[in-house]
Amino acid sequence: MLVLPRSLCSRVVTLCTPRPFHWSLRPIQTHTAVTADQRPARSTQVRYGHRSAQINFDTIGSWNNRLDLPLNLEYSIKSGTVIPENSLDNVGSASLLGRRKENEDRYHLQELTSDTLMVSIFDGHGGSMAANFTWQHMAEHIVHWLDSGITDLQLVLKEAFHDLNEAFTRFATQNYKGSEHALLSGTTATICLLRQNHELVIGHVGDSVAILCRDGKAIRLTKDHHLDNSQEEERVKSMGATVTCDGQGKPRVNGRLDMTRSIGDLDLKPYGVIAEPSTKVIKVRHSRDAFLVLTTDGVNVSLTDQEIVDIINGRTDPEEAAKQVTDQALQFGSEDNATAVVMPFGAWGKYSRAVSTIQYDFGRNIIGPRYS
């Protein structure tokens, strides 16, 4: 059997002749395979490779406000690359009320096991009952499934979401019998598990967002469970839901809920508003990934993903960055609760100089980052 280096497996389509060994790894991404007799024709070359974006190559060496994270030798040896320590102490967070009476956003950080961290965000609706319940109990369900010996974290999240929703159903129906309040309360949940500081697994229901900053660019890791996602629309319709639009033209399931998956919303569970999360795995590259940010829709309604990433890149400290994101969201017209959780990775601070002036959408502007 031919064993290929990981980087080649993911990039190169086929190898023309078997190479026995792993050592030929090169730091550049390869997109095309060449044939054996195809020698590089230099004189006619026109198409160059893909330039790494956003890195300031004139900057020799390190950068100013990097986090001095020590090496984690164990994880590094296991993964074969340089993996830093990470801890929840580095995570920054902020949550603002906005023009609401109550803040129904919640976030939760926890070290679940010695090698797995959890960062999560919840955006409640119809009262904070579901959000509170999920906020308080999600971690214990995940820990239960981690302890059961399942190593696939996506499966762990799927099981935990399912169990948590069952538990909430029992809780709501027993304690608040007949109360409409209990039936209408629901929440989004976006959970990120980080194992050995490089295996990042995301599971979510609803429209709370996870964004990764890689090479200075925003990469959205979640896909909102909204009715404008045609697959989701089909799914709830096939379960008998009706879709009608509210006064602002926003489609809602049975005229009530603007999302197609959630925890709680017990009245809509028969109509396909399920609690099964969409999941995703991504390998954190500490040389390119600066941070992970989780936000509730109170932030996303007024800031684009790239704006969020640029704002964070302009700050030196994750806590400060989270504050600025929520503050900026309200300043740009959000009326909802706005919450942001920022978890830094190895490239924290690396892209701060890459942003000079941030031209915000609709010509809005704010003071640029410190290192412009």
Binding site: M1, V3, V12, L15, C16, T17, R19, P20, F21, H22, W23, S24, L25, R26, P27, I28, Q29, T30, H31, T32, A33, V34, A36, Q38, R39, P40, R42, S43, Q45, R47, Y48, G49, H50, R51, S52, I55, F57, D58, T59, I60, G61, S62, W63, R66, P70, L71, L73, S76, I77, G80, T81, V82, P84, H286, S287, R288, G346, A347, K350
Partner: protein
């Protein structure tokens, strides 16, 4: 006998003494292809000082491409099969394994240090990807006491000699164990123990220094040669010319070893020079020259062995041009995708990699298996990361050391600078990560 003809006889005498010692020496050396008939007719001619030329009545323009390009010597094909059994250097299994382990360990170290620079742990790095065969093959053919002047992309040579992973990492971190006391950028290694002169990045300075050192060796008759590595780009510096000319005329025992890897940062060789590479220049300086496949570790070994013999036995310089390819970016400050295609690079990664070629050879001989490969991969990775972690934990040297070692005794100006530095740091100590440094004297 006229003065002119005495000169001629003397030069023919020298020629005979320097009779070609090896099958490997290029046959393109005009000076040595002096045919009998032209010598006879030349006797009638008057000779200009320092030349051996004849008169002609035919106006001829010498075009640079009149001669075929100098061939590239190799032992193995791309799949590790020895083409001509007579050329096989007959390494025993141990030697072969040692070479392979060194080439692969170098590759692993490069990957970890490159990644660590991308994370900002060290300030700079340069990888050796693709040139492992050139480095290890040549290092193995030298005597351990031969003096080495290198450019900066020769870490494998130092590794072959015994520089440890800790030594490399300590230098890259510039910590207290770095013999350079943290005053140089990463990869500027140097070692007295291993006869490796400290890297200095202004290009080509090592060439005249090597010529000079070799001249000293010649006078000392110490039985050693000087090995001088340089790149295809460095060969465009004026120092290259000066060095080769001095070495040729003073007949110094030095090997000028060019790593022609296709690029000088972003400048491809077709923009770097016209003519047949660096090797074609040897004849112009009257220097014996060999061109070799730098991705064939055995060929590089054979060539360097012969070059060393010629250089030492006849006390004269030899030029070697190793044809290879720089697979990595120039350094961590470079992004090579701006000036070359992915497919160009992947050709060399997949079809002509020095590690792959030696690996094939060893597998063919039953000296190496998939399982060995897997075990060694884990083992080498562990060794590198452990050394890396040790180096990272060490303190940085006392900042006062910035001022020492240039002068035997510190000059008054330096003393003044030292004390103002200390005052400044004392005043603003909360703004400096002093905890990471060895403490300064009070």
């Amino acid at each position: 006998m006229s003065v002119a003809s005495r000169c001629l006889w003397r030069s023919i005498g020298t020629f005979a003494k320097h009779a070609r010692p090896s099958r490997l020496v290029s046959s393109n050396n005009n000076a040595r292809n002096f045919s009998v008939s032209s010598r006879v007719s030349a006797l009638d001619d008057h000779f200009f000082p320092g030349t051996k030329c004849r008169y002609t009545q035919k106006l001829e323009v010498l075009e640079p491409d009149q001669k075929d390009p100098i061939p590239v010597y190799r032992v193995m094909d791309n799949k590790g099969n020895v083409i001509d059994a007579d050329e096989d250097p007959q390494f025993d299994k141990e030697t072969c394994l040692k070479m392979y382990r060194c080439m692969t360990l170098l590759n692993t170290m490069d990957r970890i240090l490159y990644e660590s620079q991308r994370q900002g742990r060290i300030s700079f790095y340069m990888t050796n990807y693709g040139e492992e065969g050139t480095q290890i093959g040549s290092a193995a053919a030298l005597d351990p006491n031969d003096l080495i002047f290198a450019q900066y992309r020769e870490s494998g040579v130092l590794m072959w000699r015994g520089f440890t992973l800790d030594n490399f990492m300590d230098q890259c971190y510039g910590n207290v164990s770095d013999v350079g006391k943290g005053r140089q950028m990463p990869v500027h290694y140097g070692s007295t123990d291993f006869h490796f002169v400290t890297i200095s990045s202004p290009l080509a300075t090592q060439l005249p220094q090597a010529a000079g050192a070799a001249y000293a060796f010649k006078r000392a008759q110490n039985g050693q040669v000087v090995m001088c590595y340089f790149g295809d780009g460095a060969a465009s510096e004026g120092d290259f010319h000066g060095a080769l000319n001095f070495a040729a005329t003073l007949e110094c025992p030095v090997i000028f070893f060019c790593r022609n890897n296709g690029y000088a940062i972003s400048t491809p060789t077709h923009d770097q020079y016209r003519g047949d590479g660096i090797a074609s220049r040897g004849a112009g300086y009257g220097i014996a020259t060999i061109r070799v496949d730098g991705n064939d570790v055995m060929a590089v070994y054979n060539v360097t062995k012969v070059a060393r013999q010629i250089s030492l036995a006849q006390s004269r310089p030899v030029l070697v041009e190793a044809m290879t390819y720089r697979i990595g970016h120039h350094s961590t400050s470079d992004d090579s995708s701006a000036y070359r295609t992915d497919s160009e690079v992947s050709y060399w990664v997949k079809e002509d990699h020095p590690i792959g070629r030696l690996g094939f050879y060893m597998m063919n001989r039953g000296w190496w298996t998939e399982q060995d490969e897997k075990n060694w991969k884990n083992e080498s990775r562990k060794q590198v990361l452990e050394a890396f972690s040790r180096a990272e934990k060490k303190l940085k040297p006392n900042p006062e050391l910035m001022f020492t070692d240039v002068y035997d005794e510190m000059t008054p100006e330096l003393k003044k600078q030292l004390s103002s530095m200390k005052e400044h740091v004392q005043l603003y100590k909360e703004n400096y990560p002093l905890g990471n440094f060895e403490s300064m004297d009070k």
